[in-house]
Symmetry: C2
Subunit: 137 residues, 2 copies
């Protein structure tokens, strides 16, 4: 049985990373480890580690992406929760067998040896859930 190891990150969609950092970094005092352009996601992402997890501030780049439309429609706020799993393909098989609706039917390469897949909010009770398998597993 595949196992959920931890909450890897919580992603927050933001209009302006610099403005959001005024709260998360400057007011709460969280450490900003890096800000990275992620063209594959049409986004710029700020990473703020907290214990074994991270808060990720995700700013859409351009207007023609799912993320930009999400921000336009729902406004800024929590976007998804990512849980780390020890073995993503067996987990996806298990979810499919149980009739869970997946956005990614197979694990996608996410760079640095990472594999990811999204579960559709329809099957989770309204939460966009991302699964990660990391090389460290």
């Amino acid at each position: 049985m595949p196992i959920i190891k931890k909450i890897h990150h919580v992603a927050v969609v933001v209009q302006d990373i610099e403005k959001s950092l005024l709260f998360w970094r400057d007011a709460l005092g969280m450490t900003l480890s890096q800000v990275k352009n992620v063209p594959a996601q049409n986004a710029r992402i700020a990473f703020l580690p907290a214990g074994e997890s991270e808060v990720e501030l995700v700013q859409p780049v351009g207007i023609d992406s799912g993320l930009a439309r999400y921000l336009e429609k729902k406004g800024p706020g929590m976007h998804h929760i990512c849980v780390q799993v020890d073995a993503i393909e067996p987990m996806l098989e298990q979810l499919k067998k149980l009739g869970v609706r997946l956005i990614n039917e197979n694990a996608m390469p996410g760079g640095d040896g990472k594999l990811y897949a999204f579960v559709h909010p329809e099957s989770t009770g309204g939460v966009l859930v991302e699964l990660y398998e990391l090389p460290e597993n």
Copy 2:
């Protein structure tokens, strides 16, 4: 300077805990540590640990509460993120000095020696943020 130690939990507002457990416990395979009635929050809460954090499934009890109205208005999904801080009162002072809008101006007792306070989404970029100080600090 007060320090954020970790993500303590992510709270998901649900219509029906038993139905939600079909995904989080039965499909994802997360452990259900307990289900608890929390009259102070007009809620029934299921706790599912993941590493050093937890997913909390929060079902409103009754119709006359902020939580029930939230569910009615926004539908089920992520409700708030809770970060653990080593010293909550100094953190609240720091936030107030920086003009951050707080829902609880002072730390509230949450049982078992826990102290909590909520930060208003207006100051965080749309995210309801809870702060926890735990006796273990």
